[in-house]
Symmetry: C2
Subunit: 401 residues, 2 copies
């Protein structure tokens, strides 16, 4: 992981690593768009989303947190023509409690589900976590259910959302294994090595897994929802480190008679130590967990959140703070919805009027409420509710006539 070793010469972004290049303070997302061959979300796409959804764009879009995409116009065209599409996102359940960074794709996916009123499938890759980590299968499976509670607490509509553990779903849905095999047949080891950086010293399970993450991009993986309709487009909101899986999927899709899945990519949620790496559950000092108490949140922000302010009050008042580098300010761009208030904070911090301690206090308040509300909602999520979400079943949505 990024926080565990030195910075590499060139930035590295793949499903297992997110590190800024040597001498860089943060991941260079412009470079990433060029490197991955995706497209920037520009003003006109943003406006089209607003027009079609008849709602203001989510602040993640307005603020460039979701910054890159593939083929989103195709999804919007389909939507405009009353053709159905579905959302697909996922989570690798590697730790008991999720952190703030894990929330990002889910908060955004909930917005998409709300404004477009479409079905959503959420893959819990317990099989992947078993394969990559020093973790037993049953423990990974248990974590999938624990993490599902946090995901459900984001407020998804049970009538439009199917959450599944790979271990469960592979063992009950014939279409899943079939689509995995179809994808595996189309991808050579050479290609997988090129896309994911696998080595011959890696396990054959790692080599096989990308097809498992690819399969839910195809509607027939969910016969209870879509029957055998291959014509339902898929839109995947995810952090940009997951893009390699879907580059592979998009390469395979036409050969199997599917539309290429469309994507919406987010930046990473920065570690407390700064935006040169992402928040990581395996380094507790880098993360605010969804289980943290108000006190812990306060302490972590005060102790660890990298400051873009000057060393002394005098200097800060003179030169002002750097909001680009300041983790507390960055976190506010994720979680403070009020644009005006945020602009005011930025102005005052950069001018030196607002001190780091005051900025941190502002953030602490926002996070304590966010995490507290989340905890209250999660406490309502019983195992019965989890089972409802995780039972394969028809979802409530309109297929076009």
């Amino acid at each position: 992981m990024a926080t565990e070793s030195a910075q590499p010469k060139e930035q590295i972004v793949d499903p297992w690593t997110a590190k800024a290049g040597e001498g860089e303070k943060k991941i260079n997302y412009d470079k990433l768009i060029v490197q991955f061959g995706s497209e920037r979300i520009d003003e006109s796409l943003l406006q089209r989303i607003e027009t079609l959804s008849k709602k203001p764009a989510h602040h993640f879009l307005r603020r460039g947190i979701f910054f890159s995409h593939r083929d989103v116009p195709d999804i919007l065209n389909a939507y405009e023509q009353n053709k159905p599409f579905f959302l697909y996102t996922g989570r690798g359940p590697s730790s008991e409690s999720m952190h703030l960074g894990h929330l990002i794709p889910f908060l955004f996916t909930k917005y998409l589900q709300d404004v477009f009123d479409v079905p959503l499938v959420i893959q819990m890759t317990d099989d992947e976590k078993f394969m990559w980590r020093d973790l037993g299968l049953e423990e990974a499976h248990r974590l999938a259910y624990e993490n599902a509670k946090d995901i459900i607490a984001c407020g998804f509509d049970v009538n439009k959302t199917f959450i599944f553990s790979n271990l469960d779903y592979m063992s009950c849905c014939p279409s899943f294994y079939r689509n995995v095999l179809r994808i595996q047949k189309c991808v050579t080891c050479n290609q997988a090595k090129g896309i994911f950086g696998f080595q011959d010293t890696d396990s054959i399970g790692k080599m096989a897994f990308p097809a498992v993450q690819a399969a839910p991009s195809f509607s027939t993986t969910f016969p209870d929802i879509f029957g055998d309709n291959k014509d339902v487009r898929c839109l995947i909101p995810c952090a940009i480190d997951q893009d390699p899986y879907f580059r592979m999927t998009r390469d395979v899709a036409p050969r199997l008679g599917y539309h290429k899945p469309a994507l919406l990519h987010s930046t990473f949620f920065p570690a407390l130590q700064g935006p040169q790496s992402k928040m990581s559950a395996s380094d507790p000092t880098s993360s605010i967990f969804l289980t943290d108490t108000p006190k812990e949140i306060e302490q972590k922000i005060n102790k660890y959140a990298f400051s873009g302010g000057c060393d002394t009050k005098e200097e800060h008042e003179k030169h002002g703070g750097n909001t680009d580098a300041d983790v507390s300010y960055q976190y506010l761009t994720f979680f403070m919805e009020d644009d005006e208030r945020l602009a005011e904070i930025k102005k005052n911090y950069e001018s030196g009027k607002l001190l780091t301690g005051q900025l941190k206090k502002e953030l602490i308040g926002v996070l304590q409420k966010l995490v507290g509300d989340h905890q209250a909602r999660r406490a309502e999520v019983t195992m019965d509710v989890v089972k409802q979400f995780m039972t394969p079943r028809p979802l409530n949505f309109k297929l076009s006539a």
Copy 2:
């Protein structure tokens, strides 16, 4: 396949190829034992099998058709101590109708089930055939059911036999995918390349598959039969070309807390053209199919069966025939159960008293009866019977106290 191209310099035997080396008339099985590191089935092992089973050894054992093994004494020790073991064999359903060669492991497995009274699992690798061949998934799945009829017609005890299609069983049994993942985590791409000769140009599905063939060696893959008991040993009767899968399995087994599976290896059933290659369903002129009519059997043997006799009657009567090279005689060693009659034929053919035409006529009679009886039994195998065999369920056997 062996019959499709020239002979290689060194003999090649792996799950996809069986070819004698340059200038060799047949596969050198002695060399194979050394190469694979297995053990020859010797007289003392044969006698021990007879003693414990309280029956004469099957003629496949007496005649060296099953010639090699791994750890069979461990199975016999367990049996002697009233500890349970189970049989595992399989079939890749690549063609509508099976040929004589395909029968060999099943006829032998039935003998083992009869004399040791143990449960048996039979894997139909429809997923493998999809991955390796130009074959659709549903076609491979259908062939699995068609081939299951032929297997059932060998006379297995429905109360002690579970036949499963991988496509079906992966999608209904949680333990199967779990054991596949556990095995995949233990095997590197390097190892799979070394064992199976995979290249980077091969699909990731090929790289992944060996774990699917390995998993049924572990009793917990069948919770309906063995619960979560990891202590049930597995004995695998198979043609020796399948050994690479189980070398890999034996390497992994102790790391996962299982006994290494034991093996009984058969030689190949020779092609009509001679024992330098094996009978192959993809070359119809090399094979007698279980669907052939009496007339077709007669014509194929007369037309294609390679003769070890001399070119003219006079020469044959003078020099005699070569039973080592003669395919018709070889086939009789597989299917003529009467030892005395076979010895007489050998003597008379080698002395030149029995002509090739007469030998072929003898074989034609044996095969017409064998195939005719098989067809009659297969006609009785309804889809209801197939479903009985292919439903996951407890089997009737005693676990030790």
